[in-house]
Symmetry: C2
Subunit: 336 residues, 2 copies
């Protein structure tokens, strides 16, 4: 075990869109786990939009990190020392490891994981929390069923990419995505098997959407908010279901933009469900097994956007915040 | 049967809040029903907020009435001549009779009704469409259950007044209303049995609401939209249900105001349901019987705001649009 390790810390509190320059690397001595703790060596660090919300103090009441704090982040790692009967050295875990090569974690806050047939890093993406998010929203909230026409925004993202494929697995007849570039749309239709993908940065995208969904959307899975949510609502079928999941449109905004007029929900007899994936934590293990089967049989796939080396995390995260990355953002921090 | 009758017509299309001066009275010859039609003598005319939406061309795609058109309006009347096998002279019906002493109606668009133990006019209010609206939203959409804490806006209105009492009948533990004056709040707590009522025109009403609902609202029945909806959402319990039913806050607005940021729905894991009562038309008769029992046993009551004489309808409607009336607005047009 290394005696010294590296971690990234914040230069200061962040009020605007997080940028690479907001972070600096520092070294620290490997700590010893106190009773009930484990020391974990990070293998993969997952970069996700919710981290940006936490850094800006906008994430469901969590404390905003300040100068010198290591940003949070889910990761997969190997236990290198344990002072808990729950886990032992050599175990693989998924936990909030932060942007760090080594971290102390309370054993009950780490989940023991196992290698499946899919690559290990998939357990941070399509087989992990983003995949579970898509599954919970479609299966438990929107109650997706055979024949549904499904619209998904941020369709090239970690949640959106999984959602389109899972909708299909659940029997959707038509799956249409919305994404922010031609390159993202190509990934969505070619790799994720969507029937169509609309680039919302083209001027006539609202007309394109009408054409792509002539009967409207029975389900709209929203990862964006803002004008995209408003437009999706206008294209919702009567009695359509909406999963509110993400707010990509406001990652860079200074203020929280308003939502659609309630009259639009009324006219469509819409049913709307706010989704927080933490509510489904208990189902993660079962979902990971399910997803592993789907990945192995080729029904579920995901593009990873990998950066290698912890020092790459800030720039990689900045790209995520600016919508420039494609696929699930992962940082390879250590050897598998 | 009278040979001449009176009706109100629009002077012109309406772009702003409807006012009494927008209407004029005219006389016309009593027409004879064509095949399949009935001629109905209006007894009670119901004035409801949706009429304002229709007059401004904002009601779910219905054509906006123009100069010389008689405004729509549900009423209870007596069939005075029939050319349909479905209904005969002397039958009591509920139908869209318009603001008129006599109207031709297609027989299949009129509902035969019967006198219950409650006053006949209740079938336009607490036992009619407004009552059914409250019942459908609470029972079928929000799935109200024993022990719920329920918040209802526009609580002195026809729908809101019924909703509080029906919530209680369905087992609500705590029922809190929001209304626009001390006088309305007194009606809500004294007559409709709400536990508390907040006057949203008092400066500290948001603090009062927090105190009145210390555990938050399990159900919020929204008749208002706007800032009241936003505030209710902040006071929603986790996993709370919201029925979106009415938009009183925008009756006088020129533009459709935005709604709450979707992040607020997400953080609460809210479930939101758009309600249009027309979807429950088939349940009206059953509900009217149920409500008649509740009224007879004193569990359901409603304040009526009656005006006598068709010529009173414009001023009575203006008061409704300005939020100045208290209780269900009814115009007595003819003898019972």
């Amino acid at each position: 075990m290394k005696k010294r390790a590296r971690r990234l810390v914040l230069n200061d509190v962040i009020d605007a869109t997080p940028r690479a320059a907001h972070f600096r690397m520092e070294e620290f001595d490997a700590p010893a786990p106190a009773s009930g703790e484990i020391l974990v060596r990070t293998i993969f660090l997952s970069l996700d939009p919710y981290i940006g919300s936490i850094l800006r103090g906008r994430h469901m009441g969590e404390r905003r990190p300040g100068a010198g704090d290591c940003p949070p982040g889910r990761g997969i790692g190997e236990v290198v020392a344990s002072s808990s009967p729950l886990l032992k050295a050599g175990d693989l875990v998924r936990a909030d490891l932060g942007w760090s090569e080594l971290s102390l974690v309370r054993a009950e806050e780490a989940r023991l994981i196992h290698r499946g047939r899919a690559p290990l890093s998939a357990q941070l993406g399509v087989a992990g929390m983003p995949g579970l998010t898509a599954y919970a929203g479609l299966k438990h909230l929107a109650k997706a069923r055979e024949g549904d026409h499904v619209l998904i925004s941020s369709a090239a993202g970690a949640v959106g990419g999984a959602a389109g494929q899972i909708a299909r697995i659940l029997g959707a007849e038509r799956v249409v995505g919305i994404a922010g570039s031609a390159e993202k749309c190509a990934l969505v239709t070619n790799d994720y098997g969507y029937d169509a993908c609309i680039n919302y940065k083209t001027p006539d995208w609202k007309d394109q959407l009408k054409v792509a969904l002539p009967h409207g959307a029975d389900i709209y899975f929203d990862n964006v908010g803002g004008d995209v949510l408003q437009t999706a609502l206008l294209n919702l079928a009567l009695y359509g279901r909406i999963v509110l999941c993400g707010l990509a449109s406001q990652y860079q905004a200074d203020e929280r933009p308003a939502g659609p007029n309630p009259g639009l929900f009324i006219a469509k007899r819409a049913q709307v469900f706010g989704l927080v994936v933490y509510d489904y934590e208990e189902q993660q293990e079962e979902f990971t097994r399910l997803a592993d089967d789907w990945i192995a049989s080729g029904r579920l796939t995901a593009h990873e956007d990998r950066a290698v080396g912890l020092e790459q995390a800030p720039a990689h995260f900045e790209r995520l915040m600016l919508g420039e990355n494609i696929g699930k953002a992962i940082v390879v921090v250590g050897r598998e």
